[in-house]
């Protein structure tokens, strides 16, 4: 199971399994005895069945709309956002919307093509756990999460843009 980096750079292991979208006509194949992340729309489609379970979370792909789960996000124990390629920046907007618009308070995980140099952007947009691509050196994550000690803009991590901090 993957090593998971927390926002403070510490590393832990957990057993969440990301379940790929089944091919057309196939049904969802949940792992036995392990918590699972399933595509967000399928969770919604099976809401009666999945709601309230602490071993079922969802994942969004970069082209998915987080609006789908408006009003329901806090029923989920874990939400992941997939970065199919690290240069696909849609996941940053998805994360901010989940946090700032829909008020998601649980764990928000970046998965997929997650590299070291994007970690701090992810953290600022509300991700608080990260599964680094396997070939990258996880021991460097803590440093890369903290290259900058402050930022110009407000984002999920701070509601104080620099122009407001300066004025005070």
């Amino acid at each position: 199971m993957p090593d998971v980096i927390a926002a403070d750079g510490t590393i832990r292991n957990d057993s969440w399994v990301l379940v790929a979208r089944p091919a057309d006509g196939d049904s969802l194949d949940l792992p036995t005895g392990q918590p699972a992340l399933i595509p967000a729309d399928l969770w919604l489609a099976g809401h009666e069945h999945f709601a309230g379970r602490d071993d079922i979370g969802v994942w969004f792909d970069s082209h998915d709309e987080p609006e789908l789960l408006a009003g329901k996000v806090n029923e989920l124990p874990l939400i992941a956002v997939n970065f199919p390629r690290f240069v696909d920046g849609r996941g940053y907007s998805i994360a901010r919307l989940l946090r700032e618009r829909f008020g998601y308070a649980g764990e928000l995980r970046a998965v997929g093509d997650v590299l070291l140099d994007q970690l701090q952007f992810m953290k600022r947009c509300g991700f608080d756990s990260y599964v680094l691509r396997a070939d990258k050196d996880i021991t460097k994550a803590a440093r890369c999460l903290n290259f900058f000690s402050q930022a110009y803009q407000a984002a999920t991590d701070t509601d104080q843009p620099l122009f407001r901090r300066r004025a005070s």
Binding site: V87, R90, L115, D117, A151, D159, R166
Partner: protein
């Protein structure tokens, strides 16, 4: 001019340390080339045809003399002793070593400069009118807003990986648009509403490149305090819905066209409703604080030096020409705006040596409160020169090559580095500019022709803004040979227009003759008051086409 405080200095230092770390990991093989690519691009570093190229940011074109001196030193210590002013008012070095770039960035940070986001699929340097703050007709000084946008867009965590590059420009004058805002991803026109409140008319979805478009207005009036929340809404809609499957269809203009301007505006307004009162909303105190950096220099109370200048004009015809063409009006009596033209025939447009950079610094200190502005036409402006010192300044500029009195004429060419340097180019552009400059070497004839924008790009990416040249030249590749396509009627100002293609392209050695024929048609057809563009708009493309392809 903006001055860094401890926050800016800390962020700049951390950025240098970050890029040093990234460069070391790239050289150690820990970062694949495609992983390092966006990191180096967002630090200004391209890998070019002959060597790396470093694009240094000059925020909205403003430079201090100490920064010019540092740039000169950097070109000597790390490069070949010259630099290039670009059409986005930035400065490029053509020959740095990749491993030296972190040191160069550290040297820049010492003088409050950087190369952040001068390339890559992110928000680029915001540009504006080179005469900001010194023109009587401006609604308000645009530079505080440019700096506000610079800070907001610097390392914005949500918008570092957009579908494509993103350029913002701000214009402040109602009479003229020297910032070409309608061919930007976002163009902001400062306006006052009926209540006299300050705000912006917002254009979105303009741009040059493969699919040139003039930006439609998506909001007639945006109050100034809402600037950043609205930009954030536009960028979020673009980040989420801009195309990522095809880089040629990834600019925001394609999205605006696909949704229609009205449809796009609706999406932005809906997004904005959610965030307009967020902490990103500006405060009057914050705006005044930024405005405090762009106050007037210590002008003296003077009268216009009309008599002295008339006498000097009468005694020296060359000075008279220069004064007429390269010197503009200033809002303060007794002052003038001087453009140093970097368009001397034989020197690639926009190129300066280390010595020239230092001399510009000297002139700025002596004549213009130690500041200069870079222009998107690749010239340099001393914005606050005393009229009674113009003659002395002119004399000092002549041996430096800055006094070519061709501003806004045919030979004041906008020209990208082209195939001589750029890896993207299909064709060379500098030799075309030079051949045309040589053909039209009679200043009096150029003055008779009046203002003509001749813009040359070496490829579709349009760094030379060929679509908005009154005469545009585009280098194209035909089976490995360089050819040049000509367009007419482009205009980057308030009546922004994309030029129309004249017809089949030409070989390089035909170009001076082609331009000469176009000019002949204008001279024959024009009425007394008409500029080239006026005549073109009246008579259309046909007469030009007939002559050139006869």
């Amino acid at each position: 001019m903006y001055v860094y405080d401890e926050h800016d200095r800390q962020i700049a230092a951390e950025r240098v340390a970050q890029f040093r770390d990234q460069t070391e990991r790239a050289l150690a093989g820990e970062l694949a080339e495609e992983e390092f690519l966006p990191l180096r691009l967002q630090n200004g570093l391209y890998v070019q045809r002959l060597a790396p190229m470093l694009r240094i940011c000059v925020p909205y074109g403003m430079l201090r003399s100490d920064q010019l001196r540092r740039l000169a030193r950097i070109t000597r210590d790390y490069d070949k002793g010259y630099a290039h002013f670009t059409t986005r008012t930035n400065i490029q070095l053509n020959w740095p070593n990749l491993e030296d770039v972190p040191d160069i960035l550290a040297e820049l940070a010492e003088v409050e400069m950087h190369a952040n986001q001068t390339s890559g699929n992110c928000i680029r340097n915001t540009t504006t009118d080179q005469f900001s703050g010194v023109q009587a007709d401006e609604i308000a000084d645009p530079r505080p807003y440019c700096e506000i946008i610079r800070q907001w867009s610097t390392f914005h965590p949500e918008f570092a990986f957009l579908p494509r590059k993103f350029k913002v420009a701000v214009n402040a004058s109602e009479q003229t648009d020297r910032a070409a805002i309608q061919v930007h991803d976002i163009g902001l026109q400062l306006v006052r509403n009926d209540q006299g409140e300050l705000g912006f008319r917002v254009h979105v979805g303009g741009g040059l490149g493969r699919t040139p478009m003039v930006a439609p207005v998506i909001r007639e009036f945006l109050p100034e305090l809402d600037l950043l929340t609205y930009l954030e809404a536009v960028l979020r809609v673009y980040n989420r819905y801009g195309r990522r499957d095809n880089k040629f269809k990834a600019r925001i203009k394609i999205l605006v066209k696909a949704l229609t301007p009205e449809g796009f505006a609706e999406k932005v307004e809906a997004e904005w409703e959610h965030i307009r009162t967020s902490p990103t909303r500006l405060t009057p105190e914050a705006i005044s604080k930024f405005q405090g950096y762009f106050t007037e220099p210590a002008y003296q109370t003077l009268e216009n030096a009309t008599d002295v200048l008339s006498k000097q004009r009468f005694e020296n015809r060359e000075f008279d020409k220069w004064l007429t063409h390269n010197v503009g009006e200033h809002k303060k009596p007794g002052y003038a705006c001087v453009t140093l033209t970097l368009k001397k025939t034989g020197t690639p447009p926009g190129d300066v040596t280390d010595y020239q950079l230092e001399q510009i610094a000297e002139l700025a200190d002596q004549f213009s409160f130690g500041e200069v502005r870079a222009t998107h036409e690749q010239n340099v402006v001393l914005a606050d020169v005393r009229q009674d010192q113009l003659f002395e300044l002119w004399q000092r500029m002549i041996p430096l090559g800055f006094a070519t009195a061709n501003l806004n004429t045919l030979t004041d060419v906008i020209c990208c580095p082209g195939g001589d340097f750029c890896a993207l180019a299909n064709a060379k552009s500098i030799p075309v500019a030079e051949a045309i400059q040589r053909r039209f070497d009679d200043l009096d004839y150029l003055y008779d022709l009046g203002p003509i924008d001749l813009n040359i790009s070496g490829c579709m990416n349009a760094c030379g803004h060929h679509h908005v040249g009154n005469i545009g030249v585009l280098g194209v590749d035909k089976k490995g040979e360089e050819f040049y396509q000509v367009s007419l009627g482009g205009d980057s100002h308030h009546n922004a227009t994309i030029g129309k293609i004249l017809g089949p392209s030409f070989a390089r050695d035909q170009m001076p003759q082609v331009i000469a024929k176009l000019i002949d048609v204008y001279v024959e057809k024009r009425t007394e008051e008409e500029t080239f563009l006026d005549t073109y708009r009246r008579v259309g493309l046909e007469p030009f086409k007939e002559r050139v392809y006869a």
